[in-house]
Subunit: 283 residues, 2 copies
């Protein structure tokens, strides 16, 4: 199925997250059923990343957003760990440092943008500045409300310089989040990951819903689309995201660059070395 088309928020669309089925899994009956396809996409992804790196012309920026326990880390670990780490950077964004806070809000994200030939992954992104910041009024509305346009401008700059942007909202419903919290409570190995804020933030569920909806309505453009990925089933989330990334990279029609040297000359050079070294070898 064409998941890019199915899950993309089209410019001008209204978004109503409560109406999107977070448990969607298409025609796949189970994880096992989809695993083969995921493997196929993963190996395609590896090849395409090699081309991206070799061609050194485009770059890819993947932004992952979602509520607590939506699976941002899991997506990185399962989909994106098939990438060669040499061509890939992952950036997380915590509370801004003093230096970061002294700059405009987009400064630190621009700094982390992927170089040509590279894949950049933002685990949370510049959208936090219209999400958590909006929900908790960390800056006045007069300020955050102007940020949507600035985000669009920022993404346009990146796009016009060869960076392809894909933004994934990992959509889980309230029941699924609670199930995942329970799993963490039941597994002592995961206790260190539990924070108070998981529970306090859940009280703002509807405020986050509105904030996510606004962000996707105002900032889903043809050059930097938002996708709402049904993520109750982790394997379906992985499948859909891999497919969309593969499709995007395939559309770039990349190829390995022309050699920078004259291969005929190099071949000659090789045979000269071979002859010379053969001669000097002890008989």
């Amino acid at each position: 199925m064409d998941y890019a088309k199915k899950f993309q928020v089209k410019p001008g669309d209204k978004v109503n997250l409560d109406k999107v089925d977070a448990g969607f899994k298409d025609q796949h009956k189970s994880k096992e059923d989809a695993l083969e396809l995921i493997e196929t996409y993963n190996s395609k992804l590896k090849e395409l990343q090699y081309l991206l790196y070799a061609e050194n012309k485009h770059s890819l920026l993947i932004c992952l957003q979602g509520r607590d326990a939506a699976g941002k880390d899991g997506t990185i670990n399962h989909v994106l760990s098939t990438l060669n780490p040499q061509g890939c950077t992952v950036s997380g964004f915590k509370v801004p440092s003093a230096e970061e806070a002294a700059h405009d809000f987009l400064w630190r994200y621009h700094k982390a943008a992927p170089a040509r030939g590279q894949v950049g992954i933002f685990n949370r992104s510049h959208y936090e500045d219209v999400l958590v910041v909006r929900v908790h009024s960390l800056v006045p509305e007069a300020i955050w409300s102007k940020r949507y346009d600035q985000i669009n401008d920022f993404e346009k700059i990146l796009h016009n310089n060869g960076t392809h942007i894909l933004k994934f909202y990992l959509h889980i419903d309230a029941d699924e989040q609670l199930k995942r919290f329970k799993k963490r409570i039941d597994d002592p190995q995961r206790h260190w990951k539990i924070s108070e804020s998981d529970y306090t933030e859940r009280n703002y569920w509807n405020d986050y819903t509105s904030a996510f909806e606004s962000a996707m309505e105002k900032c889903s453009t043809t050059h930097a689309p938002w996708f709402i990925i049904p993520s109750n089933h982790k394997w379906f989330r992985n499948l859909a995201i891999s497919e969309i990334i593969v499709q995007t990279l395939e559309s770039l029609q990349m190829k390995t660059p022309e050699p920078t040297v004259d291969i005929t000359q190099i071949r000659k050079r090789y045979h000269e070395i071979l002859q010379k070294e053969e001669k000097s070898k002890p008989k």
Copy 2:
């Protein structure tokens, strides 16, 4: 086998690369024979990286050095791509930028050092400043000859702040390098990677040998050891490097940190939410 012990350059050792068998493959008859072990190490590596990340106390710096075609990229792609990209950065070092050149030679390497909880991979490293720089006299001997001590000081600073350093010299012999050059010439998909310098640098084979030997003799310390990895067989190289990394990380006896919250309270909290939400559900 204890490859860490076998391949480590002990402090005070003389190094004679010509006497080290680059084709060594231990008791393994073939790649297939070793694959299972490599897989075991790779999954251990994944677990240990998770602990490194969770514990957030140590970091690991892996430096890869070797001649052209020795397999630095291949090592990253095969051994180190099993790592979660979220906890791993790869840094390559090209000709210094104007800003970098305006600082001491170690400045840009320090900037790229791994943060706590992270694995940093240097594809070529600060050793280039006593390798290519020495072979081609890019700075006077009076300058490069003082750099060994400075490198030791630099690595001591990192080590004393929780960064564990492993330095791998990927050892191939002259025949193997030529074979790999031939493979590149014969494969049109790889032509873009061929550069003149592969062939010109080969003329300095012995100068590089001396420069590598000096670096390893002067800068293999107990806290930042050099390992000479027989690398004619790529699979053996991968096996040995995985084993050494796994052994090093295991020696740190890491564990997941204590929870930062009171799990009993969190469990109570969870049940409160559950009850509240059950009540408000439409019957």
